[in-house]
Subunit: 252 residues, 2 copies
C-alpha cells in the first residue's frame, strides 16, 4: 500500500497477492489459519464479497483450504513424484537435480477398493480395448491416501473374458498386482501408453479427493499392451494437482 503503483489492479487481486506473498514468505506456514473473512474485509476496507473473491483465487491455486465453520488454512505443498517409466527412474540422469523437489520414497495407502465384474464399458474404453458393444469388462476402482489425505483415484478396465476367474476379480490381487496376474494369464504387459491432461474435477472426483471444484486435477490414462499389441488394461487415474509431479524419462 506504500506507493500505489498499479491503479488498474482489482482489489481482490491485490488482497490475493498480499496473502500469497505472506504465505510464501513464511509469515503463514502450512496448517496455519488465515485471518477470517470479516477481519480481512475490515483490514482492507472492502466488502466481504471482495475478500471471498480473493480467497477463491488462492483456493483454486491450491494454496489454501477452507473448512466451513472453522476458517481458511494454509495447505502444505509436498508433491509426490510419480515415475511414468520405473525402469529408468533411478539411473545416472536422475540424481536429485530436478526442477521441483518432490518426495518419491513414501508409498501411499489404498482405500475404497471396489471390483465389478461383467460391467458395461464406456464407449471410449471399449474402443481402445477393441471390444464389441456386448463384450463386458471388469472394473477395479480404488483411492490412494497419502498422509491421511486422498491424493489419487484410479479405475482399471480389463476385458471380462480375459480375467474371469482369476485373482484380478478379487479385492486383493496378490503380490505384483494386476500386471503380475496378467503375466500369469499369458498377457504380460509389454508396452504402455500414458495420456495426460488437466481439467477441473467432476463433482464426484472433487468429493472423493476432498478438493474444491475449481482446483485442477491431472487426468492420466494408462493403456497396457501385451507382446501381441493387444490392449489388456486401461487405468484411468485422477490426481490432485497439488499433490503430484509426473516424471517421464526417455532416450533420443
Amino acid at each position: 500500500m506504500s506507493h500505489e503503483p498499479s491503479p488498474a489492479q482489482p482489489k481482490y487481486r491485490r488482497i490475493a497477492d498480499e496473502l500469497r506473498a505472506a504465505i510464501k514468505s513464511g509469515q503463514y506456514r502450512a496448517g496455519d489459519r488465515l485471518p477470517g473473512e470479516n477481519a480481512l474485509a475490515a483490514d482492507h476496507e472492502v466488502a466481504p464479497m471482495t475478500v471471498r473473491q480473493a480467497l477463491a483465487l488462492l483456493r483454486s491455486e491450491g494454496l489454501v483450504e477452507s473448512r466451513k465453520g472453522s476458517g481458511v488454512y494454509v495447505q502444505p505443498f509436498s508433491p509426490i513424484r510419480r515415475h511414468g517409466i520405473p525402469r529408468l527412474a533411478r539411473d545416472q540422469w536422475n540424481s536429485g537435480k530436478t526442477i521441483w523437489s518432490a518426495d518419491d520414497a513414501r508409498s501411499p495407502g489404498i482405500d475404497q477398493v471396489s471390483v465389478t465384474e461383467n460391467a458395461t464399458a464406456p464407449e471410449h474404453v471399449r474402443n481402445v480395448l477393441g471390444l464389441r458393444p456386448d463384450e463386458k469388462v471388469c472394473v477395479r476402482g480404488r483411492r490412494y491416501i497419502m498422509d491421511a489425505r486422498p491424493v489419487m483415484l484410479a479405475t482399471s478396465f480389463l476385458p471380462q473374458a480375459l480375467v474371469a476367474g482369476s485373482p484380478i476379480t478379487q479385492a486383493d490381487t496378490g503380490p505384483g498386482g494386476i500386471y503380475a496376474r496378467l503375466s500369469d494369464l499369458g498377457y504380460a504387459p509389454a508396452h504402455f501408453r500414458e495420456e495426460v491432461r488437466s481439467r477441473t474435477p467432476s463433482d464426484e472426483e472433487a468429493t472423493r479427493l476432498s478438493i474444491p471444484a475449481d482446483r485442477p486435477v491431472l487426468k492420466v490414462v494408462r493403456t497396457a499392451f501385451d507382446a501381441d499389441g493387444r490392449a489388456v488394461e486401461i487405468n484411468e487415474m485422477t490426481l490432485d494437482s497439488a499433490s503430484y509431479i509426473l516424471e517421464y524419462a526417455f532416450d533420443a
Copy 2:
C-alpha cells in the same frame, strides 16, 4: 425446476450444470454466444452475482470464454496431441485408438521470439544445469500459436559458455532447431527427462495465453542431457490445459 430433486445443490451449480448440459448436447456450439448475464438471471430468477458464479465455474473449466463488453462464448475443444517420445509416436501401438481424440497433424506457428544472452539463471535452473552462481545462461523465449490462438509458452535455458557464438544465439536457429545445433557443437541430446505438473497460471502467463486466471495450465519442464550425462538444455513450457493432451509411450 420441474421436481426439485436436490435441495442441497446450490443455485449457481444448477445453473452451471444446465448450461454445461446444453453445451454438451449441442444446443450451443463452439463459438456461439450464451445468453447474457441479465437474461440468465431473469430466466432463473436469481441475482446477477449468482449467475456470475455459475459462469466463473464454466470459465475455469475451459468450456466458455468471456469477452468484456461483448458476451460469453462457447470455447472449442480440439486439443493438440503432444508426443513426449516422437520416436515411438507412430508405431503399432498407436493406431488411432486413444482415449481422447486429438489432432497432432497441424504444426503451430511461433510468435514473440526473444533471445537473451549472458542472463542470470534462476536458482533452480542453475542447479539442474550444474552451473556456478556466476555462470550465465542464454535464454530463448517463444510463444506457439494454433488457429490464431496462443496455446503454449516456452523458455529454454542453455549454458552461455556452451552456445556463445553459435546459431543458438540467433532468433532463427536454422533447420532442426536448438537440438540440431547442439549436435553440431558436440553436445547432441541423448536423453530427456520431462517433469509435468498442473497449476493455475501466473498473471503474465494468463495474459500471454489469453486465458482467465483460474483456468489451469500444464507445466512441462524438459531437460536434455548429452551422451556424457551433462544437462545441456532446460525447456520450461506452459501449456493451455484446454488445448493440449500429452502422450508418453514406453516399453515395460
